[in-house]
């Protein structure tokens, strides 16, 4: 019963279908524009997207910057907000999980902030900070902090109580138990938060840029709409998805390196 019978070869059809599916997806997409089933004012074909991609690598018009500048601005803003969210959220969550004073003080405020979707902060932030980078970073920070706190908190609370009691019998102080037992114990949950927080931050960034920016991938998407250039819009969307995915993979890689050997 310890062994599962495994077919040695997956049927050929099963291996061909994914590839065929992707090709069909792009093919149909290309065709419906080419055959003008959907007008070019509403959607751009893959070939058009690729051509504008190439164009935007060097051409700053019509939105004011080269593609790389937009992407870099977005990444910078997202990352700043993300790292700040980690730096504040994770220690806060960890402390809240162990020290009742921290939990008592921080919890009400956290519970008040939590239900508000980060996007709802955008008008207030624009009102306070204007359309600059600091406002966006603030919103991204807000977006990323919630999963960090929640996961770190949960991670500490999941510490094995038997281990805590054992530490007490050795005469460990509260602070020692916290640093040497609770925090390492919570690490897997904390790393789970990294991915979730990144997704939140990235989404919040795009939303913020859609509404209030003059550079960035979200801005690119909005400009594409204003100029009725769907190829720009689709390019922006693809870049957003791609960049988000790449950063996600990078975080995953970092996590694997750092957590190598610790059983999840």
């Amino acid at each position: 019963m310890a062994y599962e019978e495994v077919k040695i070869r997956t049927p050929l059809l099963l291996r061909v279908l994914p590839v065929a599916s992707i090709l069909a997806f792009f093919g149909v997409w290309q065709l419906i524009i080419y055959l003008e089933i959907i007008p070019t004012t509403m959607l751009a074909s893959p070939s058009q997207v690729i051509s504008i991609f190439v164009e935007k690598l060097s051409e700053p018009n019509p939105d004011g910057a080269v593609l790389w500048v937009h992407a870099w601005t977005s990444i910078q803003e997202a990352f700043t907000g993300y790292i700040l969210a980690l730096l504040v959220g994770i220690p806060l969550g960890l402390l809240m999980g162990w020290f009742s004073v921290a939990e008592g003080l921080a919890r009400p405020i956290f519970e008040m902030i939590r239900p508000i979707p980060p996007i709802a902060w955008i008008p207030l932030t624009i009102f306070w900070f204007g359309i600059g980078i600091s406002g966006k970073v603030f919103i991204i920070w807000l977006g990323g902090i919630v999963p960090c706190v929640i996961n770190s908190f949960a991670g500490v609370r999941m510490t094995n109580p038997t281990l805590i009691q054992m530490a007490r019998t050795y005469g460990a102080t509260d602070w020692q138990i916290f640093t040497k037992l609770c925090v390492p114990s919570a690490l897997p949950m904390v790393f789970g938060a990294l991915q979730i927080a990144l997704a939140y931050c990235w989404t919040t960034l795009v939303a913020a840029e859609l509404l209030a920016a003059d550079t960035g991938l979200g801005y690119l998407i909005t400009m594409g709409r204003r100029l009725a250039m769907p190829d720009l819009v689709v390019l922006g969307m693809v870049m957003v998805g791609l960049t988000g995915a790449v950063i996600g993979v990078a975080i995953d890689w970092v996590e694997k390196r750092l957590l190598a050997g610790i059983r999840r």
């Binding site: 004073v101 919890r107 405020i109 008008p123 500490v156 609370r157 109580p161 859609l210 594409g224």
Partner: protein, 279 residues
């Protein structure tokens, strides 16, 4: 929910001799202190205009909200705007869930459907639903359909993923049980897949709901004439911070209520949920 430190301390340490100290460390006391301090600081900052006129006092926010209940803004009173946003969410949510859940189930049950759909799904998945707003407006204009479309996109991914995983992670021996009792493939699906995947599907619905809130707000911030997102945007354009904060408070409360509702629904519909691994 007591902090771990307190629980273990209570078992091992003796009662603290200073009762004042214990009182100060009591959770509810700290909650109260924190909440009151929060409002006091807010009021202080707003009153002394440390952030310019950009912050409204809590009292002003309340007044504004009460005002909105009675006097309509842009044609609707507060309830009207809440309903406008909620309506969009419900419509989009329903469409998204109805489309995504069966597809997710189907993908998990049939390898060929999986091979066809999953690659395309994986391509679309990394794009945040908010990124779709612009193209939705290009397609549908700035009316209701574009907003509902975004919500559909936003709910689609979590629902499909959860339905898919919900079936994939079913204990295989449960199928054996059905087979041994004389069931066929149809019985397997009916009696095992659906019920077993239900908690996961429900979890997907919960995630979709909070995603739908974000989507509807974003869509309303971009282009709307009603709804909660519209209200806070109005507050910004009309430089009325009380309106902005008031709107945010209402959003928080409505979101919190809907979450409560769904969690309560789950307790009723899936009483076995947490025990699904142990039976």
């Amino acid at each position: 929910m007591n902090s771990i430190a307190n629980e273990v301390q209570a078992q091992i340490k003796e009662r603290s001799p200073l009762s004042i100290w214990r009182f100060l460390k009591n959770r509810w006391f700290l909650h109260a202190v924190s909440t009151i301090a929060f409002f006091i600081i807010w009021d202080y900052v707003a009153f002394n205009r440390f952030l310019g006129s950009a912050l409204a006092r809590p009292y002003e926010v309340l007044l504004q909200l009460a005002n909105m209940m009675v006097n309509p803004i842009a044609g609707k009173d507060l309830i009207g705007h809440i309903w406008a946003s909620t309506q969009r969410i419900l419509t989009g949510f329903a469409i998204g869930a109805v489309l995504a859940t069966p597809l997710g189930l189907f993908m998990a049950l049939n390898r060929y459907v999986n091979a066809i759909v999953k690659p395309v799904f994986d391509l679309i998945k990394p794009m945040p639903p908010i990124a779709w707003i612009s193209i939705a407006i290009l397609w549908f204009g700035i009316g209701e359909p574009s907003k509902i479309f975004i919500i559909v996109v936003g709910t689609f991914v979590p629902c499909l993923l959860n339905a898919y995983n919900g079936v994939r992670l079913i204990e295989p021996q449960l199928y054996d049980v059905v087979r041994m009792l004389g069931g066929n493939r149809r019985d397997e699906i009916l009696h095992v897949c659906f019920p077993a995947a239900f908690p996961a599907i429900f979890a997907g619905l919960q995630i979709s709901l909070s995603c739908a809130w974000t989507c509807v707000l974003a869509a309303e911030l971009v282009s709307a004439r009603s709804g909660l997102g519209f209200i806070i945007l109005l507050g910004m354009t009309q430089s009325k911070p009380a309106l902005i904060v008031g709107g945010m408070v209402v959003i928080a409360m409505v979101a919190w209520l809907t979450t409560l509702l769904v969690t309560g629904l789950e307790k009723v519909l899936c009483p076995w949920k947490r025990e699904i691994q142990t039976a």
